[in-house]
Symmetry: C2
Subunit: 130 residues, 2 copies
């Protein structure tokens, strides 16, 4: 039961943070391209990669924290459904350039961000653990 | 304030549902391929497409419900960070086939599911609204 509550709390915070950051991005960059979802997804990928390499030992305290931050917060902070909806919207409007750019940017930058996050996480772990 | 609470409630339910469905998928299909995230993402894309076409008029009751279900529940139910992490994991393990298959399956099926959901939603709206 405690696990479910932590997961729910992480999910609630993740969704609210995504919504806030997305609104801020639209204010700053406009809505001609779905920058909000791209920024949220890249940021979430970076932090997930970092935390998975740096963050968690196997004791039970860490297991709960890991669940709350990864499956809870970051799972809810990033979103695949909005990414797909916004991409399809570009295609429906005949804006193929933005549609394909959105796919490439999310997939390639997402992978790159996980990679960089994981690399930095493992570097930090090596330096602090020895 | 009410909006934020609805968003948080949707996010909490979405994260818990994703976790439950993902665990069930791993039990049923094993973990040789990240089927759990794929299924969750496709299902969320379908429902988002459906709801955006069928679901919401512009009165304030609907605006709140829309926020809770779309940005809250479905945004948190689907995930981009886990998708990217699992894809990178395939590549790191030298399993390029599963890595590229995971990208193609999530992106193409996600788009297809939004499209089918939206098509069914608009059909239902036409039939019930006239």
């Amino acid at each position: 039961m405690g696990e479910i509550l932590l997961l729910a709390a992480g999910g609630a915070l993740g969704a609210v943070s995504r919504y806030g950051l997305n609104n801020l991005t639209v204010k700053l960059l406009g809505d001609s391209f779905p920058y909000g979802t791209l920024i949220v997804n890249c940021l979430g990928c970076f932090v997930l990669g970092f935390l998975m390499q740096w963050g968690f030992s196997s004791d039970s305290h860490n297991t709960h924290l890991k669940l709350m931050l990864t499956a809870g917060f970051l799972g809810a902070f990033t979103t695949f459904s909005t990414f797909s909806y916004e991409t399809l919207d570009c295609f429906k409007n005949g804006d193929y350039f933005n549609g394909f750019s959105n796919i490439l940017a999310n997939v390639l930058l997402g992978l790159l961000m996980v990679f960089i996050g994981a690399y930095l996480g493992s570097l930090l772990k090596q330096n602090s653990g020895t």
